[in-house]
Amino acid sequence: MADRLVVVLARCTDLRAEVDPLSGAITRDPRTAAFSASDAAAIEHGLRIGSAWGARTLVVTAGGVECEGPLREVLSLGAEVRRVPTRGSYVDELATDERALAKSLVAAIGGRPDLVLCADRSADRGTGALPAFVAHELGVVQAPGLVSLELDGEDLVAERRLDYGRRERMRVPLPAVCSVEAAGIRLRRASLPASLAAATAEVPVADVPVPGPAVRVLGARAARPRPRHLPAPTGSSRERLLALTGALLSHEPPTVVGPVAAPEAADALLEFLARNGYLSEARTGWTVQ
C-alpha cells in the first residue's frame, strides 16, 4: 500500500520542573525539554513500523520553541516533525483543555493517518485522556497502555497490562490510536552526520488553532507533608520506656527464603502475601497452595 502515514504525538517538556523548596514557585527549564521515556518509546515504535511499511513517520509536538531541539533530534532519525505552538505560562499549559488539544493535534496532522501513537500518559499532565480524545476526533479505535506492539503481516498485535498483573494480547484493527508504555524499548540515537545536518534545520510550525487553558490556576505551592503526631506514652516509667523502644510491640521476624529457585521463591512470596490478606483467590484467579 502506498502513501501510508504513521503519526506520533509526543509531549516534550522539562521532565523535572523545579519546585523552589521555600517559595514553591515552579520553574520549567527550557534547556532540559525532552521526551519522556514513554514518549520516546512511542517515537521508536513509530519509526520501526513506519520503516516496515515504507511509510512516512510524522512526529507532532504541542509546545514552545524549547521543543525544537528534541524535535531536531527526531528529524535526524528520518522522521518528519511539526510543532503546534502553545501559549501562556507553564501552569496554563498544564491546564490546557485536553479535548481542544486533541483537535489541534489532529488538525496539525493534516491527513488520514493509518496509525497514531502516543505515550500512555505524559510526564507532567498525566491524565491519559489524550489518546481517547484523538481517537474520537479521528473516529477510529483506540488501544491504550500497550507494553508491546508488533507487526504481524498487515496487522498489529499488541499486549497490555491489566489490573492484578494480568496481560491481554490483542489484534488491533487499523486505523487506530495506540498509546504505549516505555517497556523494553528505547529511542535509537541519531548518527553524527545526521545530527550535524539537522543541527540548524527549520522545525515547521503547524498553522492550527492554538489551544488555551481550560481552567485558571490561581496558585501553586510546594508539597509539605505534615509530621505525624504520636501521643506520648503513658504509664510507669518502665512502661513508657518499653513503649518508646518498641519492646512491647510484637514483631514478625524476617522470613528468610532461600537460596531457592525462582519458582519456589515466587511461591513463597505469594504464600506470604495471601497469609497476610493481600491476595485472595477471587481477585487474582491464582490458587495458592
Partner: protein
C-alpha cells in the same frame, strides 16, 4: 568540511569555537551533556573582563545573578572568626569585576555566542577517543552511530578529567596530588533576606572565602550570594581528604554550622548538591599544551588558577580558549602549535600562572592550613580581650603565646612570611 573540532562546550570550548568561527573556519563544537553547562559545577564567581575585547558590553546580556561588590576573607577556628572585609562601589558598575552566575546559565549563554558566530553545536555527544594517523591527531571518535569526525585541528576543552589529553599522552592518567575536590550546595533563600543578612542592595553581591574550616584537610570554604539563593561549599585536597577518611558533605555541614556562618544560612533550603574536581597543580603541573593536530585548553591543560585566596578557572579557560580559536587558522596552516603557546605566554593565562607557581605548595602547606588561622585568631583575640584588672600584655608577648599555643616557631613564621612575599610579589 570541518576545519576545527572543539570538544567540550564549557567556557574554554565555547570561547575557542567563537573565535575560530569568527575567523571563518568551519567549526563543530561537541558537548556530552544535553545542553552546555549541564555537566559543569563550580563555586560561583566569573571574572568576565577577559570578554571585554571579544564581546563588548557582555555585562548587559550575560546571565548574571549578582555583581560582587563585597569580598570577605575569613579565618576560622572552631570558636573564632577573623574577617577581612572589603567593599567597592567600583565593582558594582561597568566594566565590573566579578559576578555570581550559574554554570548551566553561563555556559549556555557563551555557547550561544559561538553558535551565533557560526559554530555548529552538537550536544548529547561524547568524544570517546582520538583518531591518530602517523603521529598526528586527525579527528575524534564519538559515541553516536557513524560517529567519526575528521578535521585538521582538534581543540581539547574537555575539562579536568580530559581523556583526550590523556590519550595523547599530554596529561598523566591519575594525579590525585594535584587535584582538589569541590562540593557545593545551592541553598534557596529569599532575596530580601539575603540583602538584609549580607548588607547589599539591588544586584550587589558578596564573595566570602573561608580558611581553617576543613578539619585540617588542606583547602577552604566559600560562600557566594546569588539572586535568591546562596552557594556554599568547600574545596579540599583530594589526597588529604581521602587519607583523613572524611566525607566532603560533612565538611560543608561543619561550615554551615560554624557560629560565624550559621546565621547567614539559617532557614535556607537545599536546591542542588554538586561535586566536581579542580586541577590545582599550578604552573609546574600543566599538561603539554599541544600535540600535532591538537591544542589543549582550560582545565584540560590544568590552567585553573587556584592559589588560596584566588580561585579563578573560568576566566583562564576563556583566555586559553580565545587564544586557541584565534590562532586555529595559523596552527592549521603552519602545522605548528607555536602561535598558540606564544599567545598564552603573552597573556595573563601563563603569566599569572608563572608568577604564582609557588602558591599551591605554600597555600596548601600544613602550617598555612592548620596553624596560622588559629595563631592569627588567638593573637587578635588577645589584643581585643580586656584583661582588667591585669594590664594589657604587649603585642610581641601575645604573638609568642599564640605561636606557642598553635605549635608555630617564630622563625617558621618569618620564613613563610618571606616565602609568601616571594610567591605573591
Amino acid at each position: 568540511m570541518t576545519d576545527v573540532i572543539v570538544v567540550g562546550a564549557g567556557p574554554a570550548g565555547s570561547a575557542a569555537a567563537l573565535m575560530a568561527a569568527r575567523d571563518g573556519l568551519d567549526v563543530v563544537l561537541l558537548e556530552r551533556g544535553p545542553f552546555p553547562g549541564s555537566k559543569n559545577a563550580y563555586g560561583g564567581v566569573v571574572y568576565g573582563r577577559v570578554l571585554d575585547e571579544v564581546l563588548p558590553g557582555w555585562w548587559e546580556e550575560a546571565p548574571v545573578q549578582r555583581w560582587v561588590t563585597r569580598r570577605s576573607t575569613m579565618l576560622l577556628t572552631e570558636t573564632q572568626a577573623l574577617t577581612v572585609d572589603f567593599r567597592s562601589t567600583d565593582w558594582g558598575q561597568a566594566p565590573y569585576n566579578g559576578c555570581t552566575t550559574f554554570r548551566a546559565d553561563f555556559d549556555s549563554w557563551l555557547a550561544g555566542k559561538a553558535v551565533d558566530a557560526g559554530a555548529q553545536l552538537v550536544t548529547s555527544t561524547v568524544a570517546t577517543g582520538l583518531i591518530v594517523e602517523a603521529g598526528r591527531v586527525v579527528g575524534v571518535r564519538t559515541d553516536r552511530p557513524d560517529g567519526d569526525l575528521r578535521a585538521p585541528l582538534v581543540i581539547a576543552a574537555d575539562g579536568v578529567n580530559s581523556f583526550l589529553a590523556k590519550e595523547a599522552g599530554l596529561l598523566p592518567r591519575t594525579q590525585a596530588k594535584h587535584l582538589t575536590l569541590g562540593v557545593k550546595e545551592v541553598l534557596s533563600l529569599p532575596r530580601e533576606v539575603i540583602d538584609e543578612r549580607f548588607g547589599v542592595r539591588g544586584d550587589e553581591g558578596v564573595d566570602v572565602e573561608l580558611l581553617g574550616c576543613t578539619r585540617g584537610i588542606p583547602g577552604g570554604g566559600f560562600l557566594y550570594t546569588n539572586r535568591d539563593s546562596l552557594s556554599v561549599g568547600v574545596v579540599v585536597s583530594l589526597e588529604h581528604l581521602t587519607a583523613a577518611k572524611v566525607r566532603a558533605e560533612d565538611l560543608v555541614a561543619d561550615l554551615k554550622a560554624h557560629p560565624a556562618v550559621a546565621p547567614w544560612v539559617e532557614g535556607a533550603e537545599l536546591k542542588e548538591y554538586t561535586a566536581h574536581l579542580i586541577p590545582e597543580g599550578g604552573y609546574d603541573h600543566l599538561a603539554e599544551l599541544s600535540t600535532p593536530g591538537m591544542l589543549v585548553t582550560g582545565d584540560a591543560a590544568g590552567l585553573c588558577l587556584a592559589a588560596g585566596i584566588w580561585l579563578e578557572g573560568v576566566n583562564f579557560a576563556i583566555g586559553s580558549g580565545l587564544a586557541a580559536g584565534r590562532h586555529a587558522r595559523s596552527v592549521i596552516d603552519s602545522g605548528d602549535a607555536k602561535p598558540y603557546r606564544k599567545a598564552l605566554e603573552g597573556s595573563f593565562v601563563l603569566q599569572d600562572h608563572k608568577r604564582l607557581r609557588g602558591a599551591p605548595d605554600l597555600v596548601l602547606s600544613e602550617r598555612v592550613q592548620q596553624r596560622y588561622p588559629g595563631l592569627v585568631a588567638d593573637l587578635v583575640q588577645g589584643l581585643f580581650t580586656v584583661t582588667n584588672p591585669a594590664a594589657k600584655p604587649g603585642a610581641l608577648r601575645l604573638l609568642r603565646r599564640a605561636a606557642k599555643k598553635n605549635g608555630v616557631k617564630l622563625r617558621h613564621l618569618l620564613a613563610d612570611g618571606l616565602a609568601g612575599g616571594r610567591v605573591f610579589r
